[in-house]
């Protein structure tokens, strides 16, 4: 029945669509997305709401899955088959991505969720009132937009705005550029009366650092190069803020 759609949209994108619509995240994991925030005591109501996004919260599942898929490719299966098999396991009740994920990952040890924890710490240090929606945080739905399922995306966006409204959110801080671009630039086009203020993490940090009496310092001297990420520099057009933040760090050479 899906033969026309399969003709024009690559199969992995179709799986992604199902995952976003049914499970509310890109890799389609049943796992707990709020696990990293357990020890942070983040309130559900605050001036600024932190939006974690799929990327960092679920990357540990994706990594395991990609390794499994790459392994299968070596044996002769295509990457599509890898995703398909993980889907098949899901149907009979086995959550393959959770099994392949790093087991000790949650919270501190794994590289991806640690970024979220650090981000919240930085924002708190800068004196911001930060909240988090925990397990109620929806997926922004941007994969639907980029894969071409515009109608699904619009519907998903409307549902999300209702969730945001029920939480009484005024200001959102996104960490992932794709989510932030979707929430800031695409939602107002499709949802009537959308009035959320959406910021990217680095914007807020740069803004607050200018005012605050803080001088970040590194223990050892470090020289770094900065590469403008696609979505951050060209979708959100935030180019100077990260450089400003880096330049303000004592002991860091850009």
């Amino acid at each position: 029945m899906k033969k026309y759609v399969k003709n024009v949209i690559p199969v992995p994108h179709l799986y992604m669509r199902e995952n976003v619509l049914e499970k509310g995240n890109i890799p389609g994991v049943a796992g707990d997305k709020a696990e990293w925030a357990k020890n942070l005591n983040l309130p559900r109501e605050a001036e600024y709401m932190f939006f974690g996004g799929c990327g960092y919260q679920f990357m540990r599942y994706v990594e395991g899955m990609m390794k499994a898929a790459a392994g299968m490719e070596k044996v002769g299966f295509g990457r599509e088959a890898g995703i398909g098999i993980s889907k098949m396991f899901g149907k009979i009740g086995i959550d393959l991505p959770s099994i392949t994920a790093k087991v000790a990952a949650a919270g501190q040890e794994d590289t991806y969720t640690r970024i979220l924890v650090s981000a919240v710490r930085v924002l708190r240090k800068l004196g911001l009132d930060i909240g988090y929606m925990h397990e109620d945080e929806p997926c922004c739905g941007s994969p639907l937009y980029y894969s071409g399922f515009l109608d699904d995306y619009i519907e998903h966006a409307k549902e999300n705005v209702e969730i945001f409204k029920s939480y009484g959110i005024q200001k959102l801080i996104g960490l992932i550029p794709a989510c932030t671009a979707s929430l800031r630039d695409h939602y107002p086009k499709y949802v009537e009366g959308y009035n959320l203020e959406v910021y990217h993490f680095i914007e807020i940090v740069a803004q607050r650092l200018r005012k605050a009496d803080l001088k970040p310092r590194l223990k050892e001297r470090l020289s770094v190069a900065y590469h403008d990420p696609c979505q951050l520099s060209r979708y959100l057009e935030i180019i100077d803020a990260p450089r400003e933040v880096l330049a303000s760090i004592d002991g860091l050479e850009l």
Binding site: M1, K2, K3, Y4, V5, N7, V8, I9, P10, H13, Y145, Y146, S147, G148, F149, L150, D151, I154, E155, Y190, C230, R234, Y235
Partner: protein, 116 residues
């Protein structure tokens, strides 16, 4: 935009919008060599993709499957779009590519609804 009373008119409007947006491309090919997906073929660049969309929608050249393969090989990094802005043209190749994906998906879903 949302639930359509007349899907075919909607698709036609979307198509016209895409074709009009393609007309703003000045065919300078400055986006060809800089495209991160470029490996030698012109269709691995914004200019080539836009030309393919134009030829397909206007003259029916190539199948939808082939066009979709070209469209989904784009990374949507918007480097081409920034280059267009530097050259003071109004072209938005990255947005046009995403919009054409949406057009193809909508067309397919519409066909499926009709067939069912």
């Amino acid at each position: 935009m949302s639930p359509h009373n007349d899907p075919e008119a909607d698709l036609k409007a979307m198509e016209t919008e895409i074709l009009n947006a393609i007309q703003t491309c000045i065919n300078c090919r400055m986006c060809v060599r800089m495209c991160p997906t470029h490996e030698g073929w012109v269709t691995q660049s914004a200019f080539g993709r836009l030309a393919a969309i134009n030829l397909h929608l206007k003259y029916g050249l190539g199948s939808e499957k082939e066009l979709s393969r070209l469209l989904f090989s784009c990374a949507n990094c918007r480097r081409c779009q920034v280059r267009c802005r530097m050259l003071s043209t109004n072209a938005t190749p990255s947005d046009v590519i995403i919009k054409t994906r949406q057009l193809l998906a909508r067309k397919a879903l519409h066909k499926e609804r009709q067939g069912a």
